[in-house]
Symmetry: C2
Subunit: 128 residues, 2 copies
DNA sequence: TTAATAATAGTAATGATTACTATTTTATTA
DNA sequence: TAATAAAATAGTAATCATTACTATTATTAA
């Protein structure tokens, strides 16, 4: 890995992400960081989001539908995606790491981990 | 949902998918179905793959990295993605549906299901 | 058989993301 | 502090996967 140099733009991107609980897309990060750095380019946003998630400082969430989203909290946790409003939110739940062992049981390779998210209907979209 | 009309192209796409265990991309489906229908267009392949997966006849696999893949077997099962060779393979494992309850436990919305895949090193890429 | 409508081929457009490059910032060292 | 090296940037172009558009063709129902 090449050595890292400080950049104000990267710091601003990370700070912005940490203020948000809604896991914004790169584009939303871009429009917001532009308030502080009007000349920042979308490429810089993407490059830094990739860089930060590779280094484990933020988390990238691929929903399999629509653009990637980013979470300023890199600690392991799961996400819920509402099928109606498409919002993405954090779940507080006990560990499900035992599913790795289940996956490994009849498998000849090596299962190192998993990717998972949950979907359904969020509180706001729920009919009363 | 609008009414469905038979098409030879759709049948060929589905037949091709059922002969494969490697979960090909739309592009791979395209190049193969073209052997039978040289004039088929990529748009037709995409449209039918979407249509078939919406109707539950095939399964769409979003890897969050690279193009989507398709599985001719629509019955619920999980996939493993090799981080080295990027191949996608089926896993035979016991149910992990209990994770839905775990996700629901402290959640105010309604968890209807989950999406999950496993990753690591496949048998072929494993150092001996 | 005709009429309706769904599906197609071919092409253009879109959206998200990455690549390129000349310039500017940051960090190191004389 | 000034000079240098290296990394990051802005701005733009390019790429990739996928979807949209439209005139024509195929399928199905009457």
């Amino acid at each position: 890995m090449q050595q890292l140099k400080y950049s104000r733009q990267r710091e601003s991107i990370k700070n912005f992400l940490m203020t948000r609980k809604d896991h914004p897309t790169a584009d939303v990060v871009y429009t917001n960081v532009r308030k502080e750095y009007p000349n920042i380019s979308l490429g810089t946003v993407y490059r830094n989001l990739s860089l930060l998630s590779e280094r484990g400082e933020i988390m990238k969430i691929s929903t399999g539908d629509g653009p990637d989203r980013f979470d300023g909290n890199p600690l392991p946790h799961y996400h819920f995606i509402c099928k109606k409003c498409e919002s993405v939110m954090d779940l507080e739940m006990e560990s499900i790491d035992e599913i790795n062992e289940k996956a490994n049981a009849n498998f000849n390779g090596i299962v190192e981990g998993h990717m998972a998210y949950f979907y359904g209907c969020c509180e706001n979209c729920k009919p009363n």
